[in-house]
Amino acid sequence: MLFGFEWDTSSELAFAWSILPILLIGLWVTVQATVLGFVVALVLGLILAVLKGAPSRLISWPANVLCEFIRDTPLLIQLFFLYYVLPEYGLVLPAFMTGALALGLQYSAYTSEVYRAGLQAIGRDQREAARALNFPSAHTFTHVLLPQAIPRIIPAMGNYLVSIMKDVPVLSVVTVLEMLNVAKIIGDRTFDYMVPLSMVGGLYLIMTLVASAGVRLLDTRLPKQGLPLK
């Protein structure tokens, strides 16, 4: 029994049907961790992107090294680090929060690149055109660069959202009851890992296919030449 649901081991099919609600509870946790991790990644990534693009080398260089460091080290170790080290400095977070923070931290290294690439892709031409028209730089940013950058940024960010979702099972090591952890517990108790783990695989496949299709749809819907301004 888990989360108040009994399982029925009379047949594989009955077993699968009886544990489905339990897995869906785990799935809901997976979704929450994904969304929270994504939000953290978007915010931290933006901060990193700004720091990396800072005019002063004193700021941009450490930011670049930090970004490379985050990108080149495993999520699992980063998660352990946050989980065990933060409390030593008095910051005690629930496991779920620590997990989402670790996801966001790991992916901020990637999202910061998306921000930068999105802005750089618009390129010098547009900047120069804006300068030639004597736009103030704030105006250039909000009216020329951003409307063109956002349609480029959103699909790439969508792909990272899907990646984050696939990394959520790592959070099981700090006792977060996301879908894989739930399936593993069911397996531990029933000695039938086959059914719950295969179901988790199937559910993941459905979620990523749906999410990827959503990203593709978004990509085709967004105007490539930039968002229209009001």
Binding site: D72, Y84, V173, G201
Partner: protein, 223 residues
């Protein structure tokens, strides 16, 4: 315990991590080519198998795949009377290779498709068979294009090896967690381990850059 005393067990773990990375990157590369080319095959069966492989392994989580191979496969084997219990190292290398191979296959496919149509036309005009055009004309041009994304995937693979510690394989992550359990000195241990992974990633990146130069050396010939 001084931090230098952590080094011996951690380096033992790091050596396991290196081996896991090397084996799974090589197997992963083989899978990448097999299924990346397979996805472009005119034979519908080969194409369907390749698409299926790529979608399943990209569409599910590595940890799910690892657990499935390690925990679920033996159960499935039992049901049909086979002993499919894999030693952790086999399950680990297999899961890592299959996972990274699926991502690599998309890189291979993309790079082959990016070869200009005019190159295939020249090959056809010279009466090359489609196979000769693929292996003699398209692939040698596509491989240098694959190298930057392959470099990223190799580093991704290195990072992913940490997950095999969860099926009690004695890699760097496993040793770190063991040491932490024993000493409770989390800050030192995990800082050390982060830097060790970072160092390995830098070395791996440098190796992949060298490889990139090597496979694309015709591009750098100068007068």
């Amino acid at each position: 315990m001084a931090w230098t005393e952590y080094l011996t067990p951690l380096l033992q773990g790091a050596w396991v991590t290196v081996q896991l990375t090397v084996y799974s990157t090589i197997f992963g590369a083989i899978l990448s080519f097999a299924f990346g080319i397979g996805k472009l095959s005119p034979n519908w069966l080969i194409k369907a198998v390749s698409v299926g492989y790529i979608e399943i392994f990209r569409g599910t989580s590595l940890l799910v795949q690892l657990f499935w191979l390690y925990f679920a496969l033996p159960v499935a084997g039992q049901a049909v009377g086979l002993d499919l219990r894999l030693p952790p190292v086999v399950a680990g290398v297999l899961a890592l290779s299959l996972n990274i191979g699926a991502y690599g296959a998309e890189v291979v496919r993309g790079a082959i498709q990016a070869v200009q149509k005019s190159q295939y036309e020249a090959a056809r005009a010279l009466n090359f068979t489609p196979r000769q055009a693929l292996f003699g004309v398209a692939l040698p041009q596509a491989i240098p294009e694959m190298m930057p994304p392959f470099g990223n995937l190799a580093v991704q693979n290195l990072k992913d090896t940490a997950l095999v510690s969860l099926i009690s394989l004695g890699d760097l992550a496993f040793r770190a967690e063991q040491l932490r359990n024993f000493t409770q000195d989390s800050t030192t241990i995990f800082t050390l381990v982060l830097f060790m992974y970072f160092g390995m990633a830098l070395v791996l990146t440098a190796i992949m850059k060298l490889l990139e130069r090597f496979v694309g050396r015709w591009r750098h010939a100068s007068n």
